[in-house]
Each structure stands twice: as C-alpha cells, then as structure tokens.
Symmetry: C2
Subunit: 156 residues, 2 copies
C-alpha cells in the first residue's frame, strides 16, 4: 500500500476534488442553460459541451474513488494512472479553452461593444456567473491532473 498522497486516485482528498469538479461544472451548465439567448454565441454552447464532458468524467472517477475507499483497494497501477492522466489532461485543456473563449466573448459583449446594455435579451450577469463557475471547475480539475501526473512520474 502506498503512503497517503494528496489527490491520488483512491484517497478521500481525490474524492473531494472530484466532487468539487462535478458541482462547479454542473452549476455552470445549469446557469448557462437557463439563461436566455445563450445560443447567440457558439462559445457558450461549447462551454456547455465541455462542462458536460467534465461532469461525466469527474462523476465516473468519483464513483471509482468511492469504490476503492469502500473495498480498500489500491488503485495505483501504471495503466490505470496513465488512463486517468490522459483523460484529466484532455478534459482540463477543453475546459480551460471553453472558459477562456466564453470569457473573450463576454468581454467583447460588455466592454468592447456594449451589446449587454443595448440587447435586453442577453442575460449577461447569468453568463458571467456561469463562466466563473467554469473557471472554478477547470481549477479543481487542474489540481487533480497535476497531482496524478506527478504520482505517475514518481512511480515510473
């Protein structure tokens, strides 16, 4: 059995990180999907897709962590960790790209074109909350992916 390692699969800290990721991503989807006129920008639709992927990925790994904690199983095989690292990185890069592109569009709406004031159909404050939650979801996923990569490099 490995020594307890912050954020490694099969420990409570990893499970907490996964739950944070799920909650932030799900809240981001809920806020964005319930705001009116989000389909005017492709970036906002892409944000929903990327956050949906993150919810699925984090929920799956949270279930894996719960199972490992339940039966006290060691999850630190090279192959499993490699799969988790690749999935984490792909999801994290997509999440950061989606958050940043939505933030770029948001800044264009608010600062550069003042479309938020002139078009009452755009619920800009909702978009901003959703984008902030998406950045939060990315942040927790980035912590997970770094710790798993570090663990994999230390094991090999």
């Amino acid at each position: 059995m490995m020594k307890p390692w912050f954020g490694a699969p099969g420990f409570t800290s990893a499970l907490v990180l996964r739950i944070f990721q799920c909650l932030c991503a799900a809240a981001s989807i809920a806020v964005m999907a319930s705001s009116s006129g989000f389909s005017t920008a492709t970036s906002f639709c892409y944000l929903i897709a990327a956050m949906g992927l993150e919810v699925l990925w984090s929920l799956g790994l949270a279930c894996l962590d719960i199972h490992a904690l339940w039966v006290k199983k060691d999850l630190h095989s090279q192959i499993l960790l490699s799969l988790v690292v690749v999935g984490d990185w792909v999801t994290a890069i997509l999440a950061l790209a989606a958050s940043s592109s939505s933030a770029g569009v948001m800044i264009l709406f608010v600062r550069d074109s003042e479309l938020c004031n002139s078009e009452p159909i755009l619920s800009c404050s909702m978009y901003q909350i959703s984008i902030a939650l998406a950045f939060g979801a990315w942040f927790w996923l980035a912590i997970s992916s770094h710790t798993v990569l570090w663990l994999l490099a230390s094991l090999s």
Copy 2:
C-alpha cells in the same frame, strides 16, 4: 551527468522546442499587430500581451540552453527545474487562455454575427493566421512544460 532526456533543459531537443515557441509566438504578434482594427476586441490585445510574455520567456530559456550546451553544464538542479516548471505552466496557461478567447471572438465574428463580411475594416484572415500561430506556440510550450514537470517528479 544525467542521461539525455527529450526536452529537458540543457539538451538540444529543449533548445529546438524553445526556438519553435519563440518563432510561433513572434510570428503571431507580427501578424496580429500588422492587421488593421485588431484593437476592436480586448482578446486580440491580450493575445499580443500573452505571446509577448512567451517570446521573452522562451528566448531567455533558449539562451540558458545555449549556454549549458556551450560549457557542457548540467542544469538539472531541483531549484532551477522548479523555477522553469512554474514559469512554463504560468506562460502555457496564459497562452492557451489568450488563444482560446481570441478564437471565441473570431468564431463570433465569422459564424455568429457575420461581422467579417459587413465590416471591411476587420482583416479576419489575418486574425485567423495569428490565432493559429498562437495555438502552435502554446502546443510547443505545453510539450516543454510536461517534460520538465515529468523530469522534476522523477528526480524528487
């Protein structure tokens, strides 16, 4: 002396990666700054700033690599590698955020609002070339940052 390691500081592969990063980032700045009307979107100005940071960072590390290759010095101290990892990650995250936000704005211009057709002052093809080069600069930087993080984790 360590065994040769792809992309580790002080080896030819690392120097080649740094030169690619510099060239892509510098070309991205040049194309964006020479296109007309780029200051209409804050994201495009932020892209220039982030690529400027990447040029400075990669140029500095390329000089360090050249120096290490010249005097055959081993650069693999923990402190130096930690500094390089932190700088690489910060620069890579900023570069990806800048590229994505510009791409989000670009998609809004081309697909969602068709502003590119209606406003002849926007040189949209130039913006697209610049954003593609910025993604290239981010890609090479991501390879560097992953290899250095891996090396640091293996040494510790």
